[in-house]
């Protein structure tokens, strides 16, 4: 037999064998995912695209796969393989590899969403997806329309937040200007802040120090800044009375800022020599180690006044109760709603939420700052109006049991657009779930 004949027979036999082997294994390919939709992520800088697809019919996590338990084991989807190629690089030079299909990610069974954050703004991308079975077999590909990510100039999902901020900012700016013109503004008395002078005076009489804790948050938190403004006043009063002030801090940057604040306060009080920088000291970043340090100091030195102003967590009660046990007069202020009851239970005076933020303006007596408080009040009034409108509309819907109409559309708009993230959107869209939604 000639060599060429032997070769052809060999090829025929091997092809026949592989065909028979394949037929005998009874392997079934997984079904492909469908409806791959790729969109440019809305309200971003054009640096990501969103991929969504319908799960494969042989994905056992597919809720539409009612016979999941009967799915052929060899066809069960284990992962989805996602490939990408760049079809237009917007004039930039491209590697050959990028122009061809490349695997960029894979998603697990049951997953139907992926965000590609490795795209370039202005380039055009093609995507395709297939399912991969338990045996490593792939389904056919499901393609999508090409997508070109672009940058949005403004994050429209936050447009109502911007509008509210402008309204509140407008009120505040107007009343700051109003105060600048010299017109008088009235601010109600805040007992907790009035008590600070009394507390420092008591410490002076007893010859004991004043303890000031600025919370356990870092300097980039607004509560810490608000705490520092109160510290400025307390330090000034302490300098005027000749009392000692002790400020342990939980963050190094807060220590540095507190030193500047106290030093300036002593200078303003005309007692720069009385300023002792070592009394404003760093303890530790660890929450409970900090508490141990501060409470240890309280028990040993028994300060006559303890003032807590800033962001506190679980340590609030330990500090306040220790202060209570040593008989110190205590004033606290925080914007942590969960810690307020503890301070109320253990301290003599507590600044609740907004009072704490108003402290700086209140203590300074500066008309410009007090004007901002007036603006804040009008902002609150505006919020109450929206609240009342929402309650009124929700009550009408609830009493009339209506599921559509102007009232439902209005409530939807308040919830989804004004308080949600759907931006300006269109009036009359979205769903309402009055029952069971406490957002």
């Amino acid at each position: 037999m000639k060599k060429s004949h032997t070769f052809y027979i060999g090829v025929f036999v091997s092809l026949a064998y592989s065909g028979v082997a394949s037929a005998l294994s009874f392997e079934t390919l997984p079904e492909p995912p469908t409806n791959l939709v790729v969109i440019d992520t809305p309200d971003d800088a054009g640096n990501s695209v969103e991929l969504d697809w319908a799960l494969s019919g042989t994905d056992i996590f597919n809720p539409l796969n009612e016979n999941a338990s009967d799915t052929d084991p060899s066809a069960i989807v284990s992962t989805y393989s996602i490939e990408r190629k760049i079809s237009d690089a917007n004039g930039s030079e491209l590697d050959e590899a990028d122009s061809n299909w490349q695997k960029v990610s894979e998603a697990g069974a049951g997953e139907s969403h992926w965000t590609d954050r490795t795209v370039e703004r202005g380039w055009t991308y093609d995507y395709r997806i297939c399912s991969v079975g338990n045996q490593g077999d792939s389904s056919i590909w499901c393609d999508a329309e090409p997508v070109t990510p672009v940058m949005q100039m403004f994050n429209m999902s936050k447009v109502w937040l911007a509008i509210f901020m402008l309204i509140f900012g407008g009120f505040i700016a107007y009343y700051i200007n109003y105060a600048r013109s010299g017109k008088p503004l009235w601010v109600r008395k805040i007992a907790g802040l009035e008590a600070i002078d009394e507390a420092v005076g008591r410490a002076t009489e007893m010859g004991r120090p004043v303890l000031f804790v600025i919370g356990i948050q870092d300097i980039n938190e607004i509560q810490t800044l608000a705490g520092l403004t109160v510290l400025s006043r307390v330090a000034k009063t302490a300098a005027e009375y000749g009392a000692q002030i002790e400020v342990p801090t939980c963050r190094s940057l807060v220590m540095a800022a507190a030193r500047e604040t106290v030093e300036a306060a002593y200078l303003a009080a005309g007692a720069p020599d009385a300023y002792q920088p070592d009394r404003i000291h760093y303890l530790t970043d660890e929450q409970f180690a900090f508490v141990a340090g501060v409470t240890g100091y309280m028990v040993r030195e028994e300060p006559a006044a303890c003032i807590y102003m800033g962001g506190f967590y679980a340590e609030s009660l330990i500090l306040a109760e220790t202060g209570n046990h040593i008989g110190a007069i205590q004033v606290a202020g925080t914007a942590m709603p969960s810690q307020l009851p503890f301070f109320v239970a253990s301290c003599d005076y507590t600044l609740i939420g907004e009072e704490f933020f108003a402290a700086s303006a209140y203590l300074s007596g500066d008309p410009l700052q007090i004007g901002s408080l007036k603006g804040q009040d009008y902002g609150k009034f505006f919020s109450v109006l929206i609240l009342v409108a929402g309650i009124f509309i929700a009550s009408i819907i609830s009493l009339s049991h209506s599921e559509e109409g102007l009232a439902v559309d209005s409530l939807n708009y308040i919830k989804n657009n004004m308080l949600g993230s759907e931006g300006l959107g269109s009036f009359g869209g979205g769903d309402t779930d009055i029952e069971g939604d406490d957002s």
Binding site: A45, F168, L283, F288, A345
Partner: protein, 231 residues
Amino acid sequence: MKRTVPLIIAIIAGFVLLIANFIPYAEGWGLKAQEWFNILAVGAMILGGGNLVKLHLIKISGQRKGWGYSAVTIGCFVGTLIFGLFKIGVHPNEIYPNVGWSGYYLEGGSGLWWIYQHMIVPLTSMMFAMLAFYVATAAFRAFRAKNTEATLLLVTAGVVLLGQTYAGVWLFEGWLPESMQWLRFDHLTEWVMNIPNTGGTRAITIGIALGVVATSLRILLGVDRSYLGQD
């Protein structure tokens, strides 16, 4: 100058973060600002650590009251620093087996891991556990029926406390008519937590949010400079 430069930095940083929240192009600016803050915080850690050591060394050298505690603090500080910096007990990373310090600093079984697991975690848990006793003493004081409001608070607290346990169901089992089931403590607790409690918390939260906006604006506009040590 000492006040003006920090004020300008604060105002610029504040406006950058504000803009970054609304303009997608500036999203990265906020992250950059956060990175700069982290760099500053690391630098400040040295300042804080130095301050801690200095104060306690002064206390030890002067043999002031409680100087023994300072000695323990310095000992723990130095010991932890040595274990952490030199990665004692840490094995080299599998990718860089020849680089001695390439392992993860908190690797299981290492010195620093041991200090963390067997000293810091139990001590922290101990401090946290003390909260239970403090809650009891604070509750005892807060719930004394001195006047109408305090009595109301006491009754509400009692109902909620029982409603959170099986007693809230057990006390009314078998005798309360179907139409009066809403009086069961577990149902009353649910109502108290969902209606008055949620309403009160939201009122406080709205006030806080507006306070944050007003304080931020005062700082951004340079009206409030007291955090820089100036009224």
